[in-house]
Symmetry: C3
Subunit: 149 residues, 3 copies
Amino acid sequence: MSVYDRLEEMGVVLPEMTPPAASFAPWVRTGDLLYLSGHIARRDGGPWVGQLGATLSTSQGREAARRAAIDLLGTVHAATGDLGVVKQVVKVMVLVNSAPGFIEQHLVANGASEILEGAFGSAHARSAFGASQIPFGSCVEIEAILQVA
Amino acid sequence: MSVYDRLEEMGVVLPEMTPPAASFAPWVRTGDLLYLSGHIARRDGGPWVGQLGATLSTSQGREAARRAAIDLLGTVHAATGDLGVVKQVVKVMVLVNSAPGFIEQHLVANGASEILEGAFGSAHARSAFGASQIPFGSCVEIEAILQVA
Amino acid sequence: MSVYDRLEEMGVVLPEMTPPAASFAPWVRTGDLLYLSGHIARRDGGPWVGQLGATLSTSQGREAARRAAIDLLGTVHAATGDLGVVKQVVKVMVLVNSAPGFIEQHLVANGASEILEGAFGSAHARSAFGASQIPFGSCVEIEAILQVA
């Protein structure tokens, strides 16, 4: 099964790449590493605004992280032309817009990790933590480093 | 002196690797780089819960960062089988669970940096900053990139 | 035009490298990658203290990010001896000391990205987000990964 078959099986439709909202590139490649810029969670064509522990539940945050990871895969597809060249997801950083008492950033981040592991078949290194805010008030932001052929 | 001798001299006992609490790998290797996932500070077998500038002092935070770095070394030992293959610690990111007025993240982070520099004999690049929260309410989280033979 | 010519055209004077304020190295090189430690924004010879959304405006934050990026270039010059060996800026992380309601981290970060893109002629991958605090109470902190010859 190809990566695209696995994504289809998970019900994932790859989006067009969203152009960066500021002065940076959506990705940069150096050697066999592909660095993906921070991708914010989106809904209804705009930022998914909210804060975990305040206006969003853990399960909503998890869905937001899932969507940000899917957008990130759309960028990887645009960068490589073929997700089949991805050798592994090396490292993922998941920022969770967190009110002071919210401590389930790891559960929110799982929404992203499960898509990525499902697509490529191996687990990645990861950090997840609470950000005091995220651009546009988005609830989740995800960056990643991938190894490509 | 081996890395293990230096650790013993610093009174460090390497722990067994703690399995990740969510959907990710404790480390991923790509080329000669080893990416370590975020390791939260632990005490008494569980997360070391607290916030700098609220419930914990700078010296407590420093001790928490030291323990998280030791756990991280336990993971490096599990990943490599021999800490002697580590060429250098390239980069460390230290997240400090910080109340609004706490501005000594660099002093907290030194608790981790001193163990790592003591073990491997050279200084690493580093960022340290305040997170609004950390998974499980832990007070410190540390991730790292190492170069291995 | 050399990198130095482009910097001069932008009115940038490279500073001497600021020694780290704690137990870490200003940079580490591995292979052709140069990892730069977090550089905090400075003003009048000390940390530029303040928080976006509280005591500083977006345009002030943008200027702070610009200055931190210039300091970072001073470190790259010290690390390499010649900015001409820089192949590309791979990845930049911009931490913005953010009050709860501040959501323009991307605009603050542009102050850094524009200097870096102006100097080297290509865009970089980037993440920008809100930190609950930054060492010394500084308003901005920037780390980066560069590819060098």
